[in-house]
Symmetry: C2
Subunit: 305 residues, 2 copies
């Protein structure tokens, strides 16, 4: 299976600390790299990682708070200095384009590639990106301003041919795609060979859900049910539940309850408030409800495999 991994470049909240950068992640699927959010310092974090600048063609911005998008202009500018030619697609709520265009016009006059803005509507669940193998859809969140999460889903995959059986029946090449898609095979003698004899199960279609910044959103549960990996913000511990509600954030306990209800296979928590110099209590709080919880951390890579 091709790699499907989540690289954390930043998992702090609004105020950066010496421990955490603001929110940025890169989802690597095969050799495509999708960025989620782009906090200040993202280009520096990218430099420190094993990720290739030039493979990032799509950036998804969850909402327009500065800690989720102040890194865009520097990254766009540096991509230009590095000789980028291919367009960079930025998916974000309005009015990001309106705010960024004057900066691009002034600071990035000589850009040899296009920055293409795609306006997303955070209040709706819809597919905003699609290619041969994956879709990305919005997950409406409940934050102080319009905000959405993102669900990365592999499309159903082709079944695996059983080499020996294919060989035995001398099945011509042109028929193999149909068989991978589930067709039976009829021999020249008219005998039907059922697909189950010709193929083994396709690899599972993997999925990753990113939910930040938000109060827990039960309406998203049917959308992400059974996802392989869920990143959910846990800005506060449960003793700060009121503050979390006021600021439209979640507690570690709420994140874990959400993961359990959504039957996620694994949970990463992040977007830690700058007040925590040690996130172990957040982890303990979540793991008590959802054992397979991990703390996000700059430089950490979570593989779905």
């Amino acid at each position: 299976m091709e790699p499907f991994e989540i690289n954390i470049l930043g998992c702090g909240s609004a105020l950066p600390t010496t421990r955490h950068n603001p929110s940025t992640q890169v989802v690597r699927i095969g050799n495509r790299q999708f960025m989620i959010d782009c906090g200040e310092g993202t280009q520096l974090q990218l430099r420190k990682s094993h990720l290739h600048f030039s493979f990032i063609d799509h950036v998804f911005i969850s909402h327009l708070h500065g800690d989720h998008c102040f890194g865009l202009i520097g990254m766009v500018s540096s991509f230009g200095l590095l000789g980028r030619k291919t367009p960079l697609h930025i998916y974000a709520p309005a009015p990001l384009e309106e705010i960024m265009q004057p900066q691009l016009d002034f600071f990035c006059k000589e850009l040899a590639y296009k920055v293409v803005f795609h306006t997303i509507h955070p209040d709706r669940n819809c597919i905003i990106y699609e290619d041969k193998t994956i879709t990305v859809e919005t997950l409406p969140q409940n934050h102080r301003i319009p905000c959405c999460g993102f669900l990365f889903k592999e499309k159903p995959k082709l079944r695996h041919l059983r080499g020996d059986v294919i060989e035995f029946y001398k099945i011509p090449h042109y028929m193999r795609k149909a068989i991978k898609e589930g067709a039976d095979y009829i021999t020249p003698e008219g005998e039907t060979i059922p697909n189950s004899r010709l193929t083994s199960n396709a690899d599972p279609s993997r999925s990753y859900a990113y939910c930040s910044d938000t109060l827990p959103c039960p309406h998203n549960i049917p959308l992400i049910e059974g996802c392989d990996l869920l990143y959910h913000e846990a800005t506060f511990a449960e003793d700060m539940k009121e503050r979390a509600a006021q600021t439209h954030h979640s507690t570690a306990r709420q994140a874990a309850e959400f993961a359990r209800e959504a039957k996620a296979k694994r949970l990463i928590i992040g977007h830690f408030s700058s007040r925590y110099t040690d996130e172990a209590p957040l982890l303990d709080e979540a793991a008590a409800i959802f054992p397979d919880t991990r703390l996000a951390g700059e430089g950490k890579c979570f593989s779905i495999g």
Copy 2:
């Protein structure tokens, strides 16, 4: 003497690397902190330093290339989250205000302090800031876009009273300021006591010159002559002299020659091109001409005193 120190938060050039952040410095004089340039990630670098966010009231931007100002919006925003109330003064070439205002209006709606823009004219040498003890003046540079350096100069200081002599003549308090300023003392008997008997020399007035990004600018020599500390960019080594000329930058050798001609007491070189993974050759090149040269580096602090 009160502290007068230069704190380097970033000394790389346009492309950030794992070794260097883009240009930012904080000049601390007493308990005032003046920022020069504000590259992306400045607020993160501030966090790592011993500097106090709340003591920074004045930011001087040399020119409007992104690596010298992309950190402003994040810093302004975080100052707000940290409860700042006092105005922040930004001195920069036009049209920074025009570019930043839409960002401030959108991202920093709830700012409880004022951001005051002061337009500077990089092509002229003039005083742009003055308080009781120092002046800051522009040093016109030669870069691809309008750009200036900054000269921080202490005003002449008062002479020190010789306690025993003052005591001996029983000089009343109200006369002491004039004596510190150089006046003689005439005793009730009409005898003139020359100032040189009453006082010892004032502390020297210290100065710091920041020159980046620029080709060497001989026209600034009379302005900074004899300065205690000179920061001069040295983006390239001498073997890249042509590239330096094309991009309107300096080589380490040129920086050192400039320091020698300006009779600077000490030299710091910085704004290193991302191509150098080791700046020792730049240091060697400069030190061969101007021995008291040091390499800038994130976290380094250079004291004048």
